[in-house]
Amino acid sequence: MSALAIAGLRKRYGRHDALRGVDLRIGEGELVGLLGPNGAGKSTLTKIACGLVRPTSGEVAVAEPFGYLAELFRFPGWCTADEVLVLHQRLTGSDGGARERGELLELVRLEADAGTRVEAMSKGMQQRLGLAQAMVGAPRLLLLDEPTSALDPGGRRTVRDLLEELRRRGVAVLLNTHLLSEVEQVCDRVVIIDKGLVVAAGTPAELEGGSGVEVELAGGVRRFEGGREDVPRIVAELVAAGEQVYGVRVTRSTLEDVYLDTVADAR
């Protein structure tokens, strides 16, 4: 059963194709990272999934209830954090009451700011309140569009902890972000899109997959394909060929390498 199922999704703005046939499926309780350069179509995809943008064609099925945190959002400055959550509880029909609100504020480390007006909050606090708002009504799916863009390292850590908590509770998450380290650390799967197409998908381990051996020689560093088990053979062959070996290092490509290679290949 899928929390989000997207098939053949296309979106055209005038003469520009923002999405050119995207297929994406997120299982119940799965955390999926959505990566891609600016203008790749990530936000468009997220907005279509939550109904803010109409697709040109394609199918979208979203598990209800779902929560959404927009990339650019604002809450009324005159509202307190608690009042924002009360409003969204009423809109979702949640009967969680004060207990739910307290729990959500605690999750995003705003428990001491329930009575603070939004206009008195920093951007980072507002973003954390946005996350709490998205979780009102116990959603089965969270669509998070750049949820850490305004957060300092401490705030990003809070969000990572929150995502782990969501995984524990079985909430599916589509995490649209530029922060590869977050995706590497918390996501079950990664989807990279560029120019409106999915150009790579898999678990972080699958995508990072390839490793190599860097050998420092008299003439400079040379790179060889292979892993740790290949080091003796590579060194033996080099020595047999008369090379002086000064150092050996096994390297592993990071998600960042894969991302940059994938996006560069697609261009």
């Binding site: 907005k47 209830p65 409003l87 969680g96």
Partner: protein
């Protein structure tokens, strides 16, 4: 998180949105400012009434057949109707001008419309809040002016409730039009458009009054066309007509042809058309909003 979620809940989403909009107007002190300024307006109006009716003594025994009390009362109440409706229109426009595109650009709209209530209920909630506030405001100013005029000058209009209904309906129409405009325009542009449309409607109505006095078929035609396109203006003129239609003799002729007179009878189709117009505007707004990418 152990609670259950019931999308829609016990209270209809449209009422939740309306309540939120009214709460915002209260908390931002919009309504407080309006009430204070209205109290000031009421005070000035009472002062003006007192001075006006006090200066009528010189006319009372003239042989012109003029009824100075009716002339003064209908004129000053007509002025209050103009002022009250104008302020009601400003209020309706202020509460709705940025309801869709303006709020979407500021990021206020997105968290709300993804909720189960949907766009239609959101729009209707915003309309309900603005229309209620604007209509109530117009009614308070209107009946306040009538009470002050009656208490000070002992002049009472013959059809106070008919005029009140038309004025309130005019404010409701402006709220609906402004909401429709907010789907396509930012708050500032929409606000300017609405106030200019309101001004154009008044101008057309005045041209119509001149056309009736001269008489000029062309000016009458302009006013009639404006009445169909912008029925809030026709409702205002009809409210003025009801105010003065029973004033007899020379006085009646004078007040009907004055700038705040009601010489033009819009006919029995005005109210049905205004209702259809309101339904069309709201349906159009719902249709356009449903197709708008946010």
């Amino acid at each position: 998180m152990t609670r259950n979620a019931r999308p829609g809940g016990a209270v209809p989403g449209v009422l939740i949105v309306a309540q939120h909009a009214l709460q915002e107007a209260l908390r931002r002190r919009v309504l407080l400012v309006v009430l204070v300024l209205t109290a000031v307006f009421g005070g000035l109006y009472a002062w003006g009434c007192h001075a006006l009716f006090g200066d009528l003594d010189g006319f009372r025994n003239s042989d012109t057949g003029l009824d100075p009390t009716a002339l003064a009362g209908s004129t000053i109440v007509g002025l209050a109707m103009f002022g009250g409706l104008f302020l009601g229109v400003v209020l309706a426009t202020f509460l709705t001008a940025g309801a869709v595109r303006g709020d979407a650009e500021r990021g206020l709209l997105q968290p709300l419309v993804v909720r189960p209530l949907g766009r239609g209920q959101y729009l209707l909630g915003r309309f309900l809040a603005a229309a209620t506030v604007a209509a109530l405001y117009v009614l308070v100013v209107y009946f306040g002016a009538i009470l002050i005029t009656g208490a000070i000058g002992d002049w009472w209009p013959a059809h106070p409730f008919g005029s009140a209904f038309r004025l309130a309906f005019a404010a409701v129409l402006v709220a609906a039009l402004s909401l429709l405009g907010s789907i396509f325009l930012g708050a500032t542009a929409n606000g300017i458009l609405m106030l200019m449309a309101y001004g154009a409607g008044l101008l057309a109505g005045l041209l119509g009054a001149i056309g009736d006095a001269i008489p000029s078929p062309t000016l009458q035609h302009i006013a009639a066309t404006a009445s169909w396109v912008l029925p809030f203006e026709a409702l205002y003129r009809d409210a003025l007509r009801l105010l003065v239609q029973d004033v007899p003799g020379v006085t009646g002729a004078i007040v009907q042809l004055g700038p705040l007179g009601g010489s033009h009878d819009a006919g029995p189709l005005l109210i049905p058309w205004a209702i259809i117009y309101l339904a069309l505007v709201l349906a159009g707004a719902g249709w356009a909003f449903a197709r708008r990418d946010l």
